[in-house]
């Protein structure tokens, strides 16, 4: 089994400070070096990777964003990226060049509400208009564009409107995500309860069946099997964080709330020191260990309801949710933290 997609966290700098953001702020701010990206792109060819994707922070803040898009395309990869949209107009000319456009699979634009009030409540005043202007530019240039809403307390009742917005705007589709808990989004009351996540999944499945545009829900969904497999656990997706580490996925490293001084077992190897193929070997071992641990607990009857909530079960396994103990009243604490023995 080899990887198909390779994702880079290009920078941990950002021009916004969204209330729901999972990216930690305890780490120093920096950009992933261009030379390292090129080296990893070269090494990834041996693994049969075909799609390269970029995230952040805000990926468009990487000082060599244009150069690395060219480096990606020159090596024959297709590419996609996720953005808050504010700086998209800067790169429209590049993305419109035929050699680049032909390799562009998708621009995913984060949108957290069907109107300014709902979206800006999370992303800050004026953001909705900027995102809409960016989408108009992408549409005018014929770029494949999708919306990427993260479902929170404020937009929970607006899923259909967001899907219709994507359809009216002539976009290729939209991909909802569950919003993962952080101390801030729990404190702000933005976080939904586990039962509401299940309702979101039902609502999204219904929209997907009824609308002509593609409607999806990203990783983190409830899986009836306790032995879930996402694209990262299946090693279809590889993820390189802003420090140049091959990591299990984008949901775990330097996540908000996790103690920055604790070891990070989801970080596999630093690609400035280790070749991607060798790092992949270590990733196989780490994932095997993860599955072994799960299977042993399954056999011992120790798997709880939490184990069906994909990313949350991982986050607990990798020690990222210790902070939930400060929120004893949250329904997630009951699910994630070990139950207290009755006196």
């Amino acid at each position: 089994m080899t990887a198909r997609r390779l994702a880079f966290e290009l920078t941990n700098r950002c021009n916004l400070a969204c209330r729901h953001c999972m990216r930690g702020t305890a780490q120093p701010r920096h950009d992933l070096p261009f030379a390292l990206i090129c080296r990893v792109l070269d090494q990834a060819q041996r693994l049969g990777v075909s799609l390269v994707s970029f995230t952040g922070g805000e990926p468009l803040l990487h000082p060599q964003f244009e150069d690395l898009i060219r480096a990606t395309v020159e090596r024959g990869y297709t590419f996609s990226f996720v953005t808050n949209g504010h700086l998209l107009s800067r790169v429209l000319p590049l993305l419109s060049e035929s050699a680049v456009k032909e390799k562009l699979i998708q621009v995913a634009v984060s949108l957290d509400g069907p109107d300014a009030e709902t979206h800006d409540a999370v992303r800050g005043p004026g953001s909705f208009r900027k995102v809409m202007a960016a989408i108009a530019g992408c549409h005018a240039r014929g770029l494949p564009t999708r919306l990427k809403p993260t479902v929170n307390r404020k937009n929970l009742g607006r899923l259909e409107e967001m899907a219709l917005l994507a359809a009216h705007l002539g976009l290729t589709g939209l991909d909802f995500s569950h919003m993962h808990p952080t101390p801030d989004n729990l404190r702000d009351g933005l976080m939904l309860a586990p039962a509401e996540w299940r309702q979101v999944e039902t609502a999204v499945a219904r929209l997907a069946g009824e609308l002509k545009i593609a409607v999806g829900l990203c990783a983190g969904v409830y899986d009836p099997s306790p032995f879930y497999l996402c694209a990262n656990l299946s090693m279809i997706d590889l993820y390189v964080d802003v420090r140049g580490n091959l990591c299990l996925c984008c949901m775990l490293p330097a996540i908000r709330g996790a103690d920055p001084d604790q070891p990070e077992p989801d970080v596999i190897a630093n690609l400035a020191e280790v070749d991607l193929v060798e790092a992949h070997v270590r990733l196989v071992d780490r994932i095997a260990e993860f599955h072994r641990h799960r299977l042993r607990r399954l056999a011992a009857g120790e798997l709880s309801e939490l184990e069906h909530f994909q990313c949350l079960a991982c986050a607990r396994y990798f020690g990222k949710l210790e902070w939930l103990k400060d929120f004893p009243d949250s329904p997630w604490s009951g699910l994630v933290l070990p139950r207290k023995e009755p006196p």
């Binding site: 809409m132 202007a133 989408i135 108009a136 530019g137 005018a140 917005l165 009216h168 705007l169």
Partner: protein, 95 residues
């Protein structure tokens, strides 16, 4: 009687690198393409925030592009008529 032109709040403008532009009406989610002179006029209307008149637009168009005053007059009239019909601008009589 002077006419003052105002860009509607619910419209966003996006500049494209070839000088053209696109408008998106946030109420009905329709896109509108603007050519170079349309983009130029829209930006003037937006910048002057309700204070732009038809006469000033004609003047600015003649200065910026190689057009006769008659041609500019008719281009501006047509532009204002089209954009008003689509609810992209409002025109107020300022007596």
């Amino acid at each position: 009687m002077d006419q003052k032109i105002k860009a509607q709040e619910a419209v966003v403008f996006t500049d494209l690198d070839d000088g053209s532009a696109v408008l998106l009406h946030l109420d009905n989610k329709f896109y509108y393409s603007l050519n170079e002179s349309g983009s130029f006029m829209w930006q003037l209307i937006e910048k002057n925030d309700g204070a732009m008149s038809k006469e000033k637009l004609v003047e600015a168009l003649c200065e910026q592009f190689d057009v006769s005053p008659d041609q500019a007059q008719s281009d501006v009239s047509e532009f204002i008529e089209d954009l008003t019909r689509e609810g992209l601008i409002s025109v107020k009589s300022d007596s």
